[in-house]
């Protein structure tokens, strides 16, 4: 087996309790381990409150981890100094849930796409516009979107811009945090197909976090099912889909259809 691109071992995330006499809260993520091989896609699935978002934020170092290890491409990720982290983060592309929130309302698409490039190259401005146009076309958008702002685009178009931005620095890993949950059903399919194409073309490694098992099933090679901060089961997508060991996993497959019935 090849060396994993991303490896998480016994990761614990606990949000600090405020006040002197409060007890320690239950950890949001308690001892999660997973690994992602290069060129593969790993889906992390769970209902809200399952700890999948905390896991993701801890991996991205947006929240501190209490214990455990995150190794990305051989680097001890949690040990990086803030300065090293800033450089190292450029190896990861992140796509958030809602493109209208994750793209600055005050910047044009050209400025948005230039931002990661500027972060890496400092102030070398040559060829920025061309590179931005290239990124857009790679994501199936015309170059005349460049002077526009995110709010002038449709949800699907805006999410493509967010993906283009995440791809700007040729990341080793693409992290997708519920990338289709804010979009219409028909647009969801388009984005998922686009991500599949991207994976097939460029062999990109992806970490795909979602509450919707069906969304992630056809793009993931491996799945991790989370509940209450723990990994309930994990395995290849085929295994989990044909023979889920837990009823919970089974229910997640029916999430979209049965949500209304269970809510009543």
């Amino acid at each position: 087996m090849t060396k994993p691109l991303l490896e998480v071992r016994d990761l614990v995330v606990r949000y600090g309790s405020r006040g002197l006499f409060r007890g320690q809260p239950r950890p949001a993520v308690s001892g999660v381990s997973l690994s992602l091989a290069p060129g593969q896609t790993l889906g992390v699935v769970g209902e809200s409150g399952s700890g999948k978002s905390s896991l993701l934020r801890a991996i991205l170092r947006l929240v501190p981890s209490e214990s455990g290890k995150v190794v990305l491409d051989g680097q001890d990720w949690l040990a990086l100094s803030p300065r090293e982290l800033r450089r190292a983060r450029q190896d990861i592309g992140v796509v958030a849930q809602n493109p209208f929130l994750s793209l600055s309302p005050r910047m044009t698409i050209a400025e948005i796409l230039a931002e990661p490039l500027l972060a890496r190259q400092g102030l070398a401005r040559r060829g920025l516009q061309d590179r931005a146009a290239e990124l857009l076309s790679r994501c199936g958008l015309p170059a005349d979107f460049l002077p526009r702002r995110a709010r002038e685009l449709s949800g699907g178009q805006a999410q493509r811009v967010a993906i283009a931005r995440a791809l700007a620095l040729d990341p080793k890993l693409l992290v997708l945090d519920e990338p289709t949950s804010a979009l219409d059903i028909s647009v969801q399919a388009q984005i998922l197909n686009f991500l599949s194409d991207l994976k097939a073309e460029s062999g990109l490694s992806m970490l795909f976090v979602t509450h919707n098992l069906k969304v992630v099933a056809h793009i993931s090679d491996h799945l991790v099912v989370m509940r209450n901060g723990e990994v309930l089961e994990q395995g290849t997508t085929a295994e989990l889909m044909s023979a889920p060991r837990h009823d919970y996993t089974h229910r997640l497959f029916g999430f979209g259809m049965r949500a209304r019935q269970t809510a009543v």
């Binding site: 800033r86 992140v94 958030a96 929130l101 994750s102 600055s104 910047m107 931002e115 500027l118 931005r165």
Partner: protein
Amino acid sequence: MRGLHQRLGWPGAVSLALILIAFGMALLAPWVAPFPDQGAGAPSIATKFLPPSADHLLGTDHLGRDMVSRVIYGARVSLSSGLLIVAFSLLIGLPVGVLAGYFGGWLDEGLMRITDVFLAFPALLLAVLMAAALGPGLLNSIVAVAVTWWPWYARMARAEVLALRGQPYVEAAQLMGVGHPRIILRHILPAAVRPLSVQAALDVGPALLTASALSFLGLGVLPPTADWGQMVDAGRKFFPERWWYSAAPGMAVFILALAFSVLGDALRDRAGGRRDGSA
């Protein structure tokens, strides 16, 4: 486009007009004042203590200077001190609040505790103490008031930044490895400045009122420069026989401070309507 009075209401529109007129007169004082040299301070003993008349609509003072001209020249001092107080306060308060809100942790604690110390004193008392320590003069009185003023901006800026920090697009920039200075300049400041600048514009009124209070106490601008607060004080000795001496600058302060206050309320009402989603 809707008329100004429809968006601000009549009181708001009238207030805005009054404020603009005051700024216009202050800027064009040498041209709009009927006796520019007297406005600037030149005495004219022959005409002293004339009551309001066609020649001198607001009468003359103890040195025979036309009160209309004096009040117009006084607007220059009052408005510029109001503007400079707010500007100085922003200059200190904005960086303090932005740094505290953005970086958090011990920096936030440290900066905000310092801010609290300044807020713990009654503002006017602190300003009077500062002005007394620094000595009279326009710049000193501006600094004295700004010292009591900046903590409010620091707190406002901090609150704005805290809200912005959690925005996904700010987080996204952070995750792309964009440096802190660039995130602050490109993402945080442009969004934080808008609500702050509205507040700052409205604070010019209260700021000039405080500056006038200082000069009324003899801690502001020195004669012969015209200043409303100091003129009210000078006229007090001749009140009520020569009532116009104190009344003219007093009314000027009153009207301008009221205009700022009414305009502020009008803008707040408008913003409130927006928040409810009615607009």
